[in-house]
């Protein structure tokens, strides 16, 4: 198909993501599959995993109320590979790489391609069933959005611990610092977060998980200019992703609470289907500084279906 034939932004986005992300992913998968077909070395030394997902987001612009909220749908395809390097009997380094992309249904410039590399140093004192696993991790992500303002890179560093509670329940905790450097300073952001995950292995049937996260730092919302928005904003710019040219993106300090409830069901050989609902609420730490103004709250819901497959 000639590029000149593409006039619909969504079709063009499909073409771009196909060319930049999906074709390389399919090539990667076919190599992994060819390896597995030949003499069945399925548990690849590179641990390639592919996931394809759909997400509905009912407040993609993180607006403070129903009238300003915009919805969108995301289609994602990611491939990841990891490699474990033993250091000694009780510690190892795990290297991880991810490459993928998102397409959006209504706002094509929110689509992106990205690449991520990460490393974690893991320590586990013994093979005792209840021995916790501690990890120091760092990862960096380069991402290119349809929106020039949003393109740039991110990083995250932190510590985590995994503790079995029973033979069906695991507790996973993370302390992390994350940062983002984008082409527009409104999307330059930093935050510190604490996350706790509870995973329940449903007998013979999959994993139910509940994740709670508290995050303190920068948040970004996109909406019409208003006294409240401008008063709490540290930085604001005219946004380049949405179809309404009147919208501005503004960054503010916030406390954010995120909860995710999900279920991962084994599905086919080496595959699983993951269903989840994520709820997030951000509250600015600074209230609007004029009489009669109330502090806005930004609430978002995301519903995700992801198919994961290992090669």
């Amino acid at each position: 198909m000639g590029r000149g034939a593409l006039t619909d932004p969504f079709a063009e986005q499909v073409h771009t993501v196909w060319r930049i992300a999906i074709l390389p992913l399919l090539s990667l998968c076919s190599v992994a599959h060819a390896q597995s077909a030949e003499d069945v070395t399925v548990d690849s030394p590179f641990g390639v995993r592919v996931d394809a997902g759909y997400m509905y987001d009912n407040n993609v612009n993180r607006a403070p109320n129903g009238q300003q909220r915009l919805t969108d749908q995301f289609y994602s395809l990611n491939a990841s590979a990891s490699r474990s390097l033993p250091v000694n009997a009780t510690s190892r380094v795990v290297l991880n790489g991810v490459f993928g992309g998102d397409m959006t249904r209504f706002f094509p410039k929110l689509g992106r391609v990205f690449g991520e590399v990460g490393a974690a140093f893991e320590y586990r004192k013994s093979a005792e069933f209840y021995a916790p696993t501690f990890s120091l991790f760092a990862r960096g992500t380069a991402e290119h959005f349809g929106s020039e303002q949003r393109s740039g890179y991110r990083y995250s560093v932190g510590v985590s611990a995994l503790q079995p509670i029973t033979d069906r329940i695991d507790l996973f905790g993370v302390l992390a610092h994350s940062g983002r450097n984008a082409n527009s300073s409104v999307f330059d952001a930093n935050d510190n977060s604490v996350q706790l995950s509870l995973e329940y292995s449903v007998p013979s049937d999959g994993t139910l998980y509940l994740i709670g996260e508290y995050r303190k730092g920068n948040a970004v919302s996109t909406g019409p200019q208003s006294l409240v928005n401008l008063d709490i904003a540290q930085v604001f710019v005219a946004d380049d992703a949405y179809t309404n040219p009147q919208l501005i993106s503004y960054r503010f300090e916030a406390k954010t609470v995120i909860a995710t409830l999900g279920y991962n069901l084994p599905f086919g050989s080496y595959g699983s289907m993951d269903l989840s609902w994520r709820w997030a609420q951000s509250t600015p730490t600074q209230s609007p500084n004029f009489p009669g103004a109330s502090t806005p709250r930004y609430v978002d819901n995301q519903f995700m279906v992801v198919y994961l497959k290992r090669f």
């Binding site: 069945v40 009780t90 013994s126 033979d167 069906r168 050989s269 995700m304 992801v306």
Partner: protein, 243 residues
């Protein structure tokens, strides 16, 4: 931990299990009911106890099994559909999946030391103590081991065999030319043992399937041991999309 995957409706099954455990009938606080639903804290089983957990329908020597059932070194254990049993025999421990039939073998009738295990049909994860050789048999394979952790699946056409760790001498029963010795530190060489292929071609490489290191750690704990490796392989991880 992801385990076997042959159930149709997980919510229905969980509800049935909860009802069976008395979860909604005032016996909520009983340790057995709680452990049945939320899982237990594995520890070496006390002398005289063989069963760690029963899910669904399980028979031992033809009688329905309970948590108090003793499993001897010459017992036959059968699981029904959507069932699983975790148990200990002497210093060996097992997770036997659904629709499986296992017969233990010992050289002396009153001994708790296993000398053999027959898996005619089904799936079983096993750990054995060092010292005594054990002979494992399926419809088409014979395997000699000593102090290893292994996972087997047996059906009429083929046997799946993973030497999770340790050493195993594996042979196709009907093809003396198909023999292989596997030395494994962590699921290094899973195999299919086939029937009807050319002589010497009845053993093939296989993927790592249907068992986890967390399960191995669980059953080693029941007999007071640990796995030789510290980090589980293939841990569960969801998509973890960032917000």
């Amino acid at each position: 931990m992801s385990r076997s995957r042959d159930i149709d409706d997980p919510r229905r099954r969980l509800l049935i299990r909860a009802l069976a455990a008395g979860f909604f009938s005032g016996s909520l606080a009983t340790p057995k009911a709680m452990a049945q639903i939320l899982g237990g804290r594995p520890a070496p089983l006390p002398p005289g106890q063989s069963v760690y957990r029963i899910d669904g329908q399980v028979q031992v020597d033809g009688a329905p099994a309970t948590m108090d059932t003793r499993i001897a070194a010459n017992s036959t254990i059968e699981t029904g559909p959507n069932s699983q049993v975790i148990y200990v025999v002497g210093a060996s421990a097992f997770i036997q999946r659904s629709e499986s039939r296992v017969t233990m073998e010992t050289k002396e009738s009153d001994s708790v030391v296993l000398s053999g295990l027959q898996l005619l049909t089904g799936k079983i994860l096993s750990v054995f103590p060092g010292g005594n050789p054990v002979r494992l048999t399926t419809r088409n394979a014979t395997i000699g081991i000593r102090g290893t952790g292994v996972y087997m699946e047996s059906d009429p056409e083929q046997t799946y065999f993973c030497t999770c760790y340790g050493v195993a001498d594996i042979g196709a029963t009907a093809d003396p030319a198909s023999q292989e010795t596997v030395v494994s530190s962590q699921h290094d060489r899973p195999l299919y043992i086939l029937t009807g292929e050319q002589a010497g071609q009845n053993i093939r490489r296989a993927p790592f399937i249907n068992h986890t290191d967390q399960e191995l750690m669980l059953i080693e704990t029941l007999v007071g041991r640990t796995t030789p490796f510290v980090f589980p392989k293939g841990e569960y991880s969801g998509p973890r999309r960032t917000y």
